[in-house]
């Protein structure tokens, strides 16, 4: 099976040990899979609803593509297909003295300028981001200089020396 140098075999034994599976990770996975089932079930419509939905869809799609054809060009169909699987997710941070707040995360390639939060008053900053199902790491950047994990979020560890948070999209609850 393996033509490995025999001198390395003892080291490989340690590598091959299968890690213990954490029950909470399996629970999280199962919740995500059941969320997939729910999403799939929602796509299956009863016949009257399907006809009504089809009529509305055709009308909306036609209007949409007329506009898209004028403004966006050929890349738009793929974009639309991808967006069907996205979940609107609201992020909220309380930062009294902030002049600006942005969110950085897996969903925007950690771009500090891509996703600014809007000040909703009384120090509350908020933004809605459409996210794919699964675990999403993120953090806030206050006034362009101060990193903050989400004080109400799930800590995601400290792997690069700065705390981040993790959101579980499509799950009923965090582990």
């Amino acid at each position: 099976m393996s033509d490995l140098d025999p001198s390395l075999e003892p080291w490989l034994e340690a590598l091959r040990t299968e890690p213990a599976v954490r029950p909470e990770a399996i629970a999280r996975l199962n919740a995500a899979l059941r969320a997939e089932d729910v999403r799939a079930a929602r796509r299956i419509l009863t016949p009257p609803a399907a006809i009504a939905a089809a009529v509305v869809l055709i009308a909306l799609t036609s209007a949409f593509w007329l506009a898209v054809g004028r403004w966006l060009g050929p890349a738009a169909p793929q974009q639309l297909a991808v967006e069907a699987d996205l979940t609107p997710t609201q992020f909220v941070l309380h930062a009294d003295d902030a002049e600006s707040v942005t969110i950085v995360g897996d969903f925007n390639d950690w771009d500090p300028y891509a996703t600014p939060l809007v000040h909703a008053g009384d120090g509350v900053w908020t933004v809605v981001v459409r996210l794919r199902p699964g675990a999403v790491r993120y953090a806030y950047l206050v006034d362009g200089t101060e990193w903050r994990a989400d004080p109400r979020g799930v800590p995601a560890g400290n792997d690069f020396g700065r705390p981040t948070s993790v959101a579980f999209i499509g799950h009923l609850e965090a582990p």
Binding site: L8, R16, R34, E36, G134
Partner: protein, 189 residues
């Protein structure tokens, strides 16, 4: 014979998933989760992101099966998804690391220096020397070595799931082996 029976059972379970029996996928998860986690943990170097990657991979696999995809060899196909997700995760992590480093170094240079030295922390009880040796390999060499000697895939299977030629993979495995031997055996020589 046991191996053959196992593959048949996977194929039967896949058929059940395609027909809508979601519990069949739970059995596939039970059977292959640990191997996926092992591969992702060694490829990424940490367990937490590995769990995220495995979850993402299994959800993608589930979607594909529900859509009617029929992989010839489920395990190799699933490991291929894990490999691809590891690559994406690593790319995201690189961007995040660069961003953190840039901002942090400008804000708190002393704290940044201190933490950089601790960056290679471990989260399991494997020999630190082995961990360091694997971490020192380039991602592509590590990936090829793990698929070959950890998951015991054939070069043809590795080629299919990585999109790399057999000869290139053989070269990567050889280079990885040479480097590991050099790093792990240096104290003994």
């Amino acid at each position: 014979m046991g191996f053959t029976r196992l593959m048949k059972a996977d194929a039967e379970l896949i058929e059940c998933v395609r027909r809508g029996d979601t519990s069949a996928f739970d059995t596939l998860v039970e059977r292959h989760y640990a191997a996926c986690l092992r591969l992702a943990s060694w490829q990424l170097g940490h367990r937490d992101p590995a769990e995220d990657v495995v979850q993402e991979s299994l959800i993608r696999a589930y979607r594909a099966l529900r859509r009617g995809h029929t992989p010839r060899e489920f395990r190799a196909w699933l490991l291929g998804i894990v490999v691809n997700r590891c690559r994406s995760h690593a790319a995201r992590s690189r961007r995040r690391r660069l961003l953190f480093q840039r901002w942090w170094a400008s804000q708190e240079p002393e704290a940044y220096q201190a933490a950089s030295l601790e960056d290679a922390g471990s989260d399991n009880d494997v020999d630190p020397k082995l961990r360091a040796a694997l971490a020192a390999l380039s991602p592509r060499l590590r990936e090829a070595f793990l698929l070959k000697h950890l998951e015991c895939l054939r070069y043809e299977e590795m080629s299919r799931i990585t999109g790399t030629s057999v000869s290139a993979l053989k070269m990567r495995v050889k280079r990885a082996t040479d480097q590991l031997r050099s790093m792990l055996m240096e104290d003994r020589e």
